[in-house]
């Protein structure tokens, strides 16, 4: 184990440079988010993943965000084990009827201010499973969605670009 750790200490890090936040996502997020909420949360967001009937493809790529190449935590973003600790819900899948209540209850258990990110084609539109008797469809049919990251599945880079939009500085928005 010692040689392995020593080798890691003296080799170059694998981590890729940070991608820039996706512009379209920035616009969506700026429209959706209240400046005060952002100030309160700062640049550190706790993310809770909810699989609402995904094929597991999106989960695999979400996992990849934690590997040495993407190293999500360097941005102040981290996955947490409970919705009660979360600021952001990343929801995947075409929201099956069998998962609908669990999704709603997870959302209810998340303290405000909170943001919902629909991850993947199914979560954005229902994807290939749209129209099934067993699926509600896009996440927005069940929860208010603040950000959409399409793709089947979205690459870790695409997810990172979307999530960085949540952290991008915005101008104060007049609230009425």
């Amino acid at each position: 184990m010692r040689t392995l750790i020593a080798r890691s200490l003296f080799s170059k890090p694998l981590t890729v440079p940070a991608p820039t936040a996706d512009e379209a996502s920035c616009r969506d997020v700026a429209a959706a988010l209240n400046h005060r909420a952002r100030q309160r949360l700062g640049r550190s967001l706790a993310i809770r993943a909810i699989d609402a009937g995904s094929c597991n493809g999106c989960e695999l790529e979400m996992h990849a965000l934690n590997n040495a190449f993407y190293d999500l935590e360097r941005f102040g973003l981290r996955f947490v084990a409970s919705p009660r600790h979360a600021d952001v819900l990343m929801v995947t899948g075409p929201v099956t009827w069998n998962m609908r209540e669990a999704v709603e209850r997870t959302f209810a258990a998340t303290p405000a201010p909170k943001w919902v990110v629909a991850v993947g084609e199914c979560a954005c539109t229902g994807g290939i499973f749209a129209g099934s008797y067993a699926c509600v469809g896009a996440v927005e049919a069940v929860l208010p969605v603040d950000l959409r990251i399409p793709g089947c599945p979205p690459t870790p880079t695409a997810m990172l670009q979307g999530l960085l939009a949540l952290l991008a500085p915005t101008k104060p928005v007049a609230t009425g």
């Binding site: 094929c55 040495a68 099934s132």
Partner: protein
């Protein structure tokens, strides 16, 4: 056309009437007695259950029988009923409960009539749905026992399912799984779809095994249509399937160790998994290789750039894998957690015909790549590693061993890549109804797909059977008498699919 009843190949003593246009094996229709005899053959261990599914009027069963072949038998549903298979052979229980939920056929004598996929929540667009009733878990009695409900939303980034633990202090005395949360109605979505859309749906039944599903589906379609797939396509499918196996096995090794707080292993395995996905992307244009395999061949040819990416990846594995094996083997704290934990007995693995690492780590010597030898594996040199101890350690170590086999397989294929086209043409009119089945060895085990096509090759019925159907129930057995804190490593060492069997 009517046929005389004849003996079913591979199941001596069982007679049935051959059904036209089923490939690569003959499908036989059996009567009540024949069906019961087949159930007994399963329970006596003279054949392995490969699948159990239904359509509107029949219930079908696929078996892996003597002389290494598949047999398919069917029974007509009379008055909404058929004789229960699980009454005689318990491993079919959840499949039978799913059939009851999706088609309403009543298995007479079924030992557990509770619904499985139907949680009483479907709005009833086409399937009948039962009113939502509280699901009754199996009772547990005894002094000091308490229940721990977990899920469907879990702590990690994993799929949803409910686990009901009954524990006495730290020790688990019973685990009962309740799944079906990700039921998407994939079989119903495939009805009426053309072959191409069917392939895209089938490739998303279980995203981590998309290549294996796509190959099994393609093989079923090719059998039904009698297609000759070009050699190059077979070879490229092999490369994709082994890349998928490498990515999942290395990811699983890291994840199992991480569940015992051995994060160093996850860090290294995670990086190797990422490199594997990047090589797959460079070679075939998609990190998980979705939609690359289709009936008739493959959609993406291997470019010189992709070939280089794969060669580079394998060289890296050559260098890093021995270090990781050493790291695992020499670290007493992780071995202490994995050894003798979550033991699955050889007898249960055999009875349930558990595929993949779960079966082979408990002495079940089965691998579809060898035992149902399909191209390109029929001309390649490889061994099927096997361990008998059946604990978490065995399932970790077997994954390491299988990685070496996959690396060697890819090298063999790429070194001798046949030239020529990567797909053959597919007819759109066949003038008759045809059926076919196909199997592919995914990283979890054998994926089985059965397909019925109408006269213009639209899908009338498609049933994909995930290997996890026969592994999930074994987790309930393996976890018994282990402590609650060891559940994550036991569960991860099985790594069963939720989406696959939830359909």
């Amino acid at each position: 056309m009517t046929h005389a009843s004849n003996e079913i190949a591979g199941i001596p003593g069982v007679y049935g009437t051959p059904v036209d246009n089923h490939a690569p094996c003959t499908r036989h229709r059996v009567d009540h007695m024949g069906w019961i005899t087949v159930c007994d053959v399963l329970e006596q261990g003279r054949a392995d259950l490969m699948g159990l599914w239904a359509d509107a009027s029949e219930v079908h069963m696929a078996l892996f029988v003597q002389s290494e072949r598949i047999a398919v038998v069917s029974i007509s549903v009379e008055g909404g009923e058929y004789p229960s298979v699980s009454r005689r052979h318990l491993p079919s229980l959840r499949l039978e409960r799913a059939i009851a939920d999706l088609f309403g056929h009543k298995p007479v004598g079924m030992p557990d009539p509770r619904p499985w996929l139907d949680h009483g929540r479907w709005p009833g667009k086409r399937r009948s749905t039962k009113p939502a009733q509280p699901y009754v878990f199996l009772p547990t009695k005894g002094e000091g026992v308490h229940q721990i409900p977990v899920g469907p939303v879990h702590a990690g980034i994993i799929e949803p399912g409910h686990f009901r633990f009954t524990a006495n202090g730290e020790t688990i005395v019973r685990l009962e799984e309740r799944l079906g949360y990700t039921h998407k109605g994939v079989e119903s979505l495939m009805e009426g779809a053309d072959l191409d859309r069917g392939a895209r749906i089938c490739g998303r039944v279980c995203g981590d095994s998309t290549v294996a599903y796509a190959i099994a589906y393609a093989r079923a379609a090719e059998a039904a249509l009698g297609l000759e797939v070009p050699e190059r396509a077979h070879a490229l499918r092999g490369v994709m399937a082994e890349l998928e196996r490498i990515a999942n096995h290395i990811g699983d090794i890291g994840a199992i160790c991480n569940d015992a707080a051995f994060v160093l292993m996850l860090a290294h395995c995670g990086a190797l998994r990422e490199r594997t996905l990047r090589a797959a992307d460079a070679a075939f244009g998609h990190r998980l290789m979705m939609d690359r395999v289709m009936p008739g061949g493959v959609r993406a040819d291997l470019t010189p750039r992709g070939e280089d990416a794969i060669a580079e990846l394998l060289i890296r594995f050559d260098a890093e894998l021995p270090r990781l094996m050493e790291l695992y083997d020499d670290t007493a704290s992780i071995k202490e957690r994995t050894s003798t934990t979550g033991i699955l007995s050889a007898d249960l693995a055999r009875r349930f015909a558990a595929g993949g690492v779960v079966g082979r780590a408990s002495g079940r010597d089965f691998d579809a790549r060898r035992d149902l030898a399909y191209p390109p594996y029929d001309r390649l040199d490889f061994t099927v590693p096997q361990i008998n101890s059946g604990d978490v350690n065995a399932r970790v170590w077997l994954r390491f061993e299988e990685l070496w086999q996959s690396i060697s397989l890819i090298r063999q294929i790429v070194a001798d890549l046949p030239p020529g086209p990567i797909a053959c043409g597919i007819p759109t009119q066949i003038g008759e109804i045809r059926e076919g089945c196909g199997v592919a060895e995914g990283f979890r085990g054998d994926v089985f797909v059965w397909l019925r096509l109408d006269t213009d090759t639209r899908i009338l019925r498609c049933h994909p059977r995930d290997p996890s159907w026969f592994q999930w129930p074994l987790l309930e057995a393996a976890i018994e008498d282990n402590i609650v804190a060891d559940f994550p490593i036991c569960n991860k060492s099985f790594n069963c699919s939720y989406s696959g069997p939830d359909l």
